[in-house]
């Protein structure tokens, strides 16, 4: 694996580990999702350049559009859960507490 590939694979792994572990704030989990999206965007736009296949460069643009959908829905859920639960801490969304 070359260092370029290593850096975005590592960034994706770090972001998904950060999403998997306990977050204090809900928006911190959303930031981890955005970071995962960013570290998928970089290789999606690098691989067409490395392989000289120009028509695949529309894939990162499409992924940018769908990540905008994801960010919008996530922020709406943030607003809704902040209204109903009082704060955006993730431990208020835990199902195990009564």
């Amino acid at each position: 694996m070359s260092p370029f590939h290593f850096s975005f694979y590592t960034a994706f792994t770090l972001s998904s580990l950060g999403l998997a572990f306990h977050r204090t704030h809900f928006i911190s989990a959303l930031l981890c999702l955005e970071s995962m999206m960013l570290s998928m965007f970089i290789p999606l736009s690098l691989w067409p350049i490395e392989n000289l296949t120009p028509s695949f460069t529309l894939v990162p643009i499409l992924m940018l559009a769908f990540s905008a959908c994801e960010a919008g829905t996530g922020l709406a859920m943030l607003v809704a859960s902040t209204r109903t639960h009082g704060s955006d801490h993730l431990h208020t969304l835990n199902l195990l507490q009564c």
Partner: protein, 173 residues
């Protein structure tokens, strides 16, 4: 130049680590901005100029909304920066995971640093990403319509989620 690009890649990892190590959202946003700016420079140095411009303008412009939300909605009285022990513990643990993976799996090979790209010479050449994104309006118009329909759907999803306390999709039971 190769070392500069490697430096940009390492800064990209550091930006992701700054987001992932569970600081307060004020500071996590700083890590995300670092990662996206460095990613723009990285793509620019490999010759993907249009995608880099789209990332810089559209992604950072859209992310401004997320930044405003993370500053306004996550109001911590004592924000945790990376100097605090909890955040430092998360960060060091994640670094340990990466180092163990690299050493154990022998994942990285520093001799293969070259990346094949094209370099435009002259007026009549079109760079790869310019011609590729233009396909979105001719052959890829189905994908274009799917993306537009998805964005329209998200509008109604957001309206349904934030409608009100008693009528919205998420409500207190």
């Amino acid at each position: 130049m190769t070392y500069f690009v490697i430096f940009l890649g390492v800064s990209f990892i550091l930006g992701a680590l700054a987001v992932a190590s569970n600081p307060s959202p004020y500071y996590g946003v700083v890590g995300l901005v670092l990662a996206s700016v460095v990613g723009c420079g990285w793509l620019m140095s490999l010759g993907v100029s249009f995608i880099s411009l789209a990332l810089f303008m559209i992604y950072l412009g859209g992310m401004l909304v997320v930044f405003v939300y993370s500053v306004s909605l996550a109001a911590d009285p004592y924000p945790e920066a990376w100097g605090d022990w909890g955040v430092m513990g998360y960060g060091l643990g994640l670094v340990l995971v990466v180092v163990l993976g690299v050493v154990w799996g022998e994942a990285i090979d520093f001799w293969e640093v070259g990346v094949v790209t094209v370099d435009g010479g002259g007026v009549s050449l079109v760079r790869l990403d310019f011609s590729g994104v233009a396909v979105l309006y001719s052959y890829g118009v189905g994908l274009f319509l799917v993306a537009g329909w998805g964005l329209l759907l998200v509008l109604f999803v957001v309206l349904e989620l934030v409608r009100g306390l008693s009528r919205g999709a998420i409500r207190a039971v």
